[in-house]
């Protein structure tokens, strides 16, 4: 049986650098095996250590469960520690992630917008210039709401093509196939007069 697919982790801010090199050691920098820090691990460190969020909050922002976030975070700490202690080069790459910036909502023109210039704070709505903007975070209360806004279902190209890990699509389909099969079986049972 194949393992359950990984849920894609949401990364709000991609790292500003591709990695880090040690200096001042005995060996020239960048020699030896590098440590590969995955994007999701970088994001976990950013949220938990840099932003100071707890694991529950961070897990909502990354769209994974709290235990998963804790596992990602533990692995990230392990890798960063190894790079630091052994003096290895750190490369940030890989991981099952998708990028999504933080969304904001404008109360004046009722639009939603994202914010690609992450360094600058959001002050005004890009559409109407109103200052009545508020962050539209994926915290537990608005999670369902955001799904509704973001729902790609109406766009034909996305129909039936959610990345694995999006809520229950494949399973629902399997269930449907199973139900159809059952119905078919029952039909054939009736044909042969065997009532179950």
């Amino acid at each position: 049986m194949s393992p359950r697919p990984k849920r894609p982790r949401k990364v709000s801010n991609p790292p500003p650098i591709a990695g880090m090199k040690p200096y001042g050691g005995n060996e020239p920098a960048g020699d030896g095996d590098p440590v590969f820090l995955e994007y999701e691990e970088y994001e976990a460190i950013r949220l938990c250590d840099h932003e100071g969020l707890n694991h529950v909050q961070a897990s909502f922002l990354m769209n994974v469960s709290r235990p998963t976030l804790t596992r990602i975070y533990a692995s990230a700490r392990q890798k960063v520690a190894e790079a630091l202690v052994v003096g290895k080069q750190l490369i940030i790459e890989g991981g099952k992630v998708y990028f999504d910036s933080e969304w904001h909502h404008c109360a004046a023109c009722r639009c939603y917008f994202n914010h690609p210039e992450k360094q600058q704070a959001v002050e005004a709505c890009p559409l109407c210039g109103s200052r009545a903007v508020s962050p539209f975070d994926a915290h537990p209360d608005s999670l369902g709401q955001e799904e509704a806004v973001d729902s790609p279902d109406d766009e034909p190209e996305n129909r039936g093509r959610r990345p694995c890990g999006e809520p229950g699509r494949p399973r629902r389909r399997q269930r449907r196939i199973r139900q159809q099969k059952q119905v078919r079986d029952e039909d054939s049972n009736h044909q042969y007069g065997r009532d179950s």
Binding site: Y98, D100, E117
Partner: protein, 106 residues
């Protein structure tokens, strides 16, 4: 700054198109000069990959903002990585001209 607005028609008086990848036209509005340009969406009838193709098209025009009713999941990460701002406006009754006026009056 250039803004692409998804439109159901060629003129700015047409209504906003609620889809991005399969909208009929893009009206590209330059906020500094006030110029508009209508670009037909070649991926309108495409079976798949309409969204990424549309992103390529608007990105090649130097657009920094896109106004549309919604964006698919493939497009979001792509647009995000290009540093283009997405604005979701779920009002199908608004015309492109009204959106342009909003942008102008900031």
């Amino acid at each position: 700054m250039k803004t692409a607005i998804t439109s159901t028609g060629e003129t700015p008086d047409s209504k906003l198109d609620q889809r991005f990848g399969r909208c009929a036209w893009f009206i590209i509005y330059d906020r500094e000069t006030g110029a508009t340009e209508a670009v037909a969406n070649p991926g309108r009838e495409a079976l798949e990959g309409a969204g990424p193709a549309a992103v390529q098209l608007v990105a090649s025009k130097g657009v920094r903002q896109i106004v549309s009713g919604e964006f698919g999941i493939k497009i979001k990460s792509l647009v995000d990585s290009l540093g283009i701002q997405m604005i979701i406006l779920k009002e199908s009754e608004k015309t492109v001209r009204e959106v342009m006026d909003l942008l102008k009056n900031q």
